[in-house]
């Protein structure tokens, strides 16, 4: 007679046959398997979670400017400030624009995460230091969805732009051939059921007499200069996550929407309405 089990068992190394069935309570092993698997799952989840939302400098919480009355209703009035830089690896006021920034990638600084209270009026000011060029779609050279404060009145679909020469103009569109970035904002799907639907898009112009791919040629913060300052206002609706991004093709590859444009945290971020 031959005990065939004496031959090399068809098992991978390390898994030796060990005793008869049921030598160990099955429940213990079962629970151990599930627990180990859940721990692994938690580890993987934590890994991705820690990789995620690499916002350069935390969330910028809007500053209160008191209240504003519109159509007979009073709203909280808050302000947000942001800046666009030509190179995310630059340092502004001793702080990196983007901690894991890539050389040559433009970035909104110093954060891409904003927080404003729900049902409030936001005045946003963006200082634009980057070079630029032509948009893929001239639609984004127009100002959409804003209600900007001009001389004490709220005017729809305009923004106030202060050029390098220091002159401030109220515009509803800029030259689609010389845009540096845009700030384009919409709520997460579903929130638009509240009227009016929110879609804010504001072009941030540049001076294209400076060659593309360089800064505006000066010595301002982050390597840029000759800033355009763009100021506009809009109402936000209920609580939720609003997503903003840049619609100027400032990336690489197809449509110049690869690289920086496909990465979260440079030319895209969230406006958390809480």
């Amino acid at each position: 007679m031959v005990d065939t089990m004496e031959r090399a068992p068809a098992e991978p190394a390390g898994v030796e046959p060990s005793g008869p069935a049921g030598s160990r309570p099955k429940a213990v092993g079962l629970i151990a398997t599930v627990v180990v698997a859940l721990l692994l799952l938690g580890g993987i989840g934590t890994f991705f979670w820690s990789e995620t939302y690499k916002s350069p400098a935390g969330t910028e919480v809007a500053q209160s400017l008191g209240t504003i009355t519109y159509n007979g209703k009073t709203y909280q009035h808050v302000s947000l400030v942001s800046t666009t830089y030509p190179d995310s690896t630059g340092v502004v006021n001793g702080q990196p624009i983007h901690p894991s920034g890539n050389s040559g990638w433009p970035a909104y600084g110093n954060t891409n995460e904003f927080q404003v209270p729900a049902n409030s009026y936001v005045t946003m000011t963006i200082t634009q230091y980057d070079s630029g060029g032509a948009l893929n779609n001239p639609y984004f050279a127009q100002v959409h969805g804003t209600l900007s404060e001009v001389n004490g009145r709220l005017v729809p679909n305009v923004a106030q732009i202060t050029g390098p020469n220091g002159v401030t103009k109220t515009v509803s569109a800029v030259d689609p051939g010389s845009v540096g970035h845009t700030f384009t904002l919409r709520p997460a799907p579903g929130a638009n059921d509240q009227n009016p639907s929110l879609f804010v898009s504001v072009p941030l112009p540049t001076d294209t007499s400076f060659p593309t791919g360089t800064t505006n040629g000066g010595d301002g913060p982050g390597g840029g200069a000759k800033a355009y300052t763009v100021k506009f206002g809009f109402f936000v609706g209920p609580k939720g996550t609003y997503a903003w991004n840049c619609e100027f093709p400032c990336g690489l590859m197809v449509g110049n929407f690869g690289a920086v444009m496909g990465a979260y945290g440079f030319m895209a971020g969230f406006l958390h309405v809480v």
Binding site: T4, R7, A10, A13, V15, K26, L41
Partner: protein, 654 residues
């Protein structure tokens, strides 16, 4: 030990100290070491030469990943034999025995081992690991979708996870039956001692093994944000991770193609005496049709990905509309691969289910030849339906009608599968062991997957459902609920033959109910999302889809628990399970007639087959084949008839 019969097992051969040559020094660790070094050298050289040139990062990543694949396989021993052959020092018989794992014990599972049973077991463990990874990523997706605007993952990470979940699962499902079972079981079923090309067999495993690290590396290279279908031009726009993804696919296709050739040639040429094509177990037919279909389909994927790499790294423009290419080209070539690929996954799983239905209904496979016609019909129609994935792309609207015709015609051979299963169950004598549980679950799920497929094949209806969660639910019902449940049934059925131990059915049945219910809840939730109009692959969704998503996520956690319990059943049984008798199911295919564990080269005496293995109720069951024969090298091996007519005909005269 009795001395009356001294059995000489091949695996106990004493090999000389130099047998195997370089193989002696190679194992997974040398593979990893050489692979990593080679990848690093590839990176160093390409980085120095190309980084600052116009060729850039994409070329660097491509070269690095390709160097890893080649280096790993060199370190494993993939190229040893061809290289020795080129040098005129072909391998000796002893070398081959060493490569087959003789006197290496458990180590052979970590080496370039040509024994088809070792390769099958390697595949089994590897597939389980892939399912673990793919499943973990699926849980990330479902966790993100618990709330409409979750802050768990950012959209970039989410897209990367969606892509790699998809591709990991596609790789795993393509090899989940053709890897473990078509390698371990199929050669025994046809009475062969090994696959036709044992070295290619080992190669197919280690090549696919080396394809996975580049896939996982995508997470560290920016992530592929284009979904597993990687539609161009989005995938041309994607980060450098896409290059690693493409190298993974090319490597994977090499493996699957090699495995497919091996399977088809083995079945064509390695059958035992008397094992005519008409006597082949139905699983063998399914493996052959699946393998052959893979040979047609998979090279298109290699072609597509090669063009993708050149588009990205060298500035060609096959797929970039803006510079003379066209994304529809990608979509066409992709689906010329992609639709047959679904059946490459499915048909072997169906074969396993039919085998199980026959064994546990104690009945012949119903309408055996019609079933084969069904497989062949599905396979041949499946190469003419690809554009139904493109009904809503705007490509060739005039072809919508013809492709609707071919697509709906495929439900005729698919209907045959149901006829065969139902016919096999009909007035059978149902033995409700664990494999049969999963066979019934297959039947339940596959009907749902099939019916929902009909809606999608209808162009007007597809114009609503395309690209939404309905599609996701549909193909999970066919691929998970159908094919993967088929593979799971196969695990329950063949586990004892592969490991020498019985799978614990008590735990297995607990797992079964979690899995069965989990699938229904998860994917009915997704059907609901689809009806409501939720697009696929979104990280944030309209709150109107909230309840459907929560249902799906709840189901996914139940499903995950089910798989974990099943995993434990496997681990527990593999270590402590009851020792398996050679034929616990009293089945009649050849793998059950030889001892467990299966000796090297399976049949120490060549079997002769005199009838098909489905003589339930008709002919007496065949007895166990001799595990050994008196070794008399001068003589031709003795021929042992199998089957009822054997004594009358004295072996193989039919």
């Amino acid at each position: 030990m009795s001395t009356a019969t001294e059995i000489h097992y091949l695996e106990d051969t004493n090999l000389g100290p130099k047998a195997g040559g370089l193989y002696r020094r190679q194992n997974i660790f040398t593979g990893l070491a050489v692979g990593i070094i080679s990848g690093f050298i590839g990176w160093l050289v390409s980085h120095a030469l190309l980084q600052s040139s116009n060729w850039g990062t994409d070329m660097v990543v491509t070269v690095t990943m390709a160097s890893w694949v080649i280096g790993f396989n060199a370190g494993m021993g993939t190229f040893n034999a061809p290289f020795r052959w080129l040098r005129g020092k072909d391998q000796t018989h002893e070398d081959e025995l060493y490569a087959a794992g003789v006197s290496q014990g458990g180590w052979r599972y970590w080496k370039y081992c040509t024994d088809h049973k070792v390769v099958g077991t390697q595949y089994l463990v590897f597939v389980m690991a892939l399912f673990g990874v793919g499943g973990a990523l699926a849980m990330m997706i479902r966790t993100q979708l618990i709330t409409p605007h979750s802050t768990f993952l950012d959209p970039e990470t989410y897209n990367a996870i969606v892509t790699i979940h998809g591709m990991t699962m596609i790789i795993a499902t393509i090899i989940m039956v053709s890897g473990p079972f078509a390698n371990f079981i199929m050669p025994i079923m046809i009475g062969a001692k090994d696959m036709a090309f044992p070295r290619l067999n080992a190669m197919s495993f280690w090549v696919i093994f080396s394809a996975v690290p580049p896939l996982m590396a995508t997470f560290f290279l920016g992530g592929v944000d284009a979904g597993w279908t990687t539609y161009a031009p989005l995938s041309v726009q994607a980060p450098a991770a896409m290059d690693a993804f493409a190298i993974c696919i090319i490597t994977f296709v090499v493996s699957v193609t090699v495995a497919g050739i091996n399977t088809v040639v083995t079945i064509m040429t390695m059958r035992a005496k008397g094992m005519t094509m008409g006597r082949l177990p139905i699983f063998v037919w399914a493996s052959m049709v699946g393998g052959a279909l893979g040979l047609y389909a998979m090279p298109a994927f290699l072609l597509d990905m090669s063009m993708m790499i050149t588009d990205r790294a060298t500035g060609t423009s096959f797929f970039v509309n803006q510079v003379g290419g066209n994304g529809w080209l990608w979509e066409n070539v992709f689906w010329i691969m992609g639709h047959p690929e679904v059946y490459v996954i499915l048909i072997p799983g169906v074969g396993a289910i039919l085998e199980i239905c026959s064994t546990f209904a104690r009945k012949p496979v119903f309408a055996y030849k019609v079933a084969i016609a069904g497989f062949v019909g599905i396979a041949s129609l499946s190469i003419m339906v690809w554009a139904h994935h493109m009904f809503t792309t705007g490509w060739a609207p005039l072809l919508a009608g013809p492709f609707m015709v071919t697509t709906e015609l495929i439900s005729i051979p698919t209907g045959i599968i149901f006829l065969v299963i139902v016919g096999t169950l009909w007035k059978g004598s149902i033995w409700t062991r664990l494999p049969m549980y999963f066979a019934y679950l297959f039947l339940w799920n596959f009907i749902i997957g099939g019916v929902t497929g009909i809606y999608l094949s209808d162009v007007p209806a597809d114009q609503y459902f395309h690209g939404d969660m309905f599609v996701t639910a549909h193909f999970h019902y066919t691929l998970l609920g159908g094919a993967m449940i088929g593979a799971t049934a196969g695990v329950c059925y063949w586990f004892n033959k592969m490991t020498g131990r019985m799978l614990d059915e008590k735990i297995g049945k607990v797992a079964f109910w979690f899995i069965a219910i989990g699938i229904q809840v998860t994917y009915f939730g997704q059907f609901w999302e689809g009806f409501q109009g939720m697009p696929r692959r979104v990280a944030y969704y309209d709150p109107i889809f909230l309840h459907a998503n929560q249902m799906s996520t709840a189901g996914a956690y139940v499903l995950m628990l089910g798989w974990l319990i099943f995993l434990y059943a496997m681990i527990h049984s593999w270590r402590n399970g009851e020792i398996a008798p050679p034929n616990p199911w009293h089945a009649r295919t050849l793998e059950w007639l030889i001892p467990t564990p299966v000796p090297l080269e399976n049949f120490l005496v060549d079997p002769v087959v005199t009838e098909d293995p489905y003589g339930y109720g008709d002919t007496p069951p065949p007895g166990q084949l001799a595990p050994f024969a008196e070794p008399e090298p001068e003589r031709e091996p003795e021929l042992v008839p199998v089957g009822a007519d054997a004594s009358a005909s004295d072996g193989g005269s039919h």
